[in-house]
Amino acid sequence: MAGAAERPLSPHLQIYRPMLTMMMSIVHRITGVALYLGTPLLVAWLLAAASSEQAFSFVNGLYGSWIGLLLLVGYSWALIHHALGGIRHFVWDTGAGFGPGPRELFAKLTIGGSIALTGVLWIVIWLVKG
């Protein structure tokens, strides 16, 4: 902004040694942005289903392709990671879990849990859908 004072900036990312909790915070934001861009995938599927048989089979073919499935796996991982990160925030909202032990545990649970649950989800999908 014109005329705004040159204020000192607080230390930013590059000044800190990377830590797991910090990485989880960054990943929470990145998955949020990814999900933001991914919501149209769900809406496109709904719109195609509502539109015509051709549109529906086109979108189904797209999502059933290798690239489509890869995208959906990534999307589901982002969703689960963001959800687990959100649950972690709910715990923090109560004032609990800020100690070095719990917050490290939360970080590990978020990353480990998101990968494990994504695996379980797609095994279930594979078993159900074939």
Binding site: M1, R29, G32, V33, L35, Y36, T39, P40, L42, V43, W45, L46, L47, A49, A50, E53, F56, S57, N60, Y63, G64, L79, A83, G86, I87, H89, F90, D93, V124, I125, V128, K129
Partner: protein, 132 residues
């Protein structure tokens, strides 16, 4: 930061309202958490339904998605998710877009995008459910 009456420029009414310089207080934070909880509950219901409906013949998918209870869950999910998307991206924009003009444009684009995505999704669900 002293709140003593002698040094503060704020009127007592302003202090009691507790809405701060942005005039919205904790409203943004609270909406973020409420929509987060709604998203969590709704996705737990909607995810199995979407997996069930996905990859079927179109008539089958339409029958599943068009059921009133399913349609209501999907509508609530779309509304809650798009609201959460909007206020989440708002914070990202405020953090990373330093130029005032670009920031305002990005915030407006964010509002347009989330409302467009939400409306399109809601329209599709309603059209399916009303049997069009």
């Amino acid at each position: 930061m002293s709140a003593s009456p002698g040094s503060s420029m704020r009127t007592p009414r302003r202090r009691v309202a507790g809405l701060g310089s942005a005039r919205s207080g904790t409203g943004h934070f609270w909406l973020q958490r409420v929509t987060a909880l709604a998203n969590l509950l709704l996705i737990l219901i909607a995810l199995p339904i979407v997996i069930w409906a996905a990859g079927q013949e179109q008539a089958q998918t339409l029958a599943i998605l068009g059921h009133p209870l399913v349609a209501i869950v999907l509508l609530l999910l779309i509304f809650s998710v798009c609201f959460h998307m909007r206020i989440g991206m708002q914070v990202v924009i405020e953090d990373y877009v330093p130029a005032e003009g670009m920031k305002v444009l990005a915030l407006i684009a964010n509002t347009f995008f989330t409302i467009a995505v939400g409306s399109a999704g809601a329209f599709a669900v309603l059209k399916i459910s009303f049997g069009g």
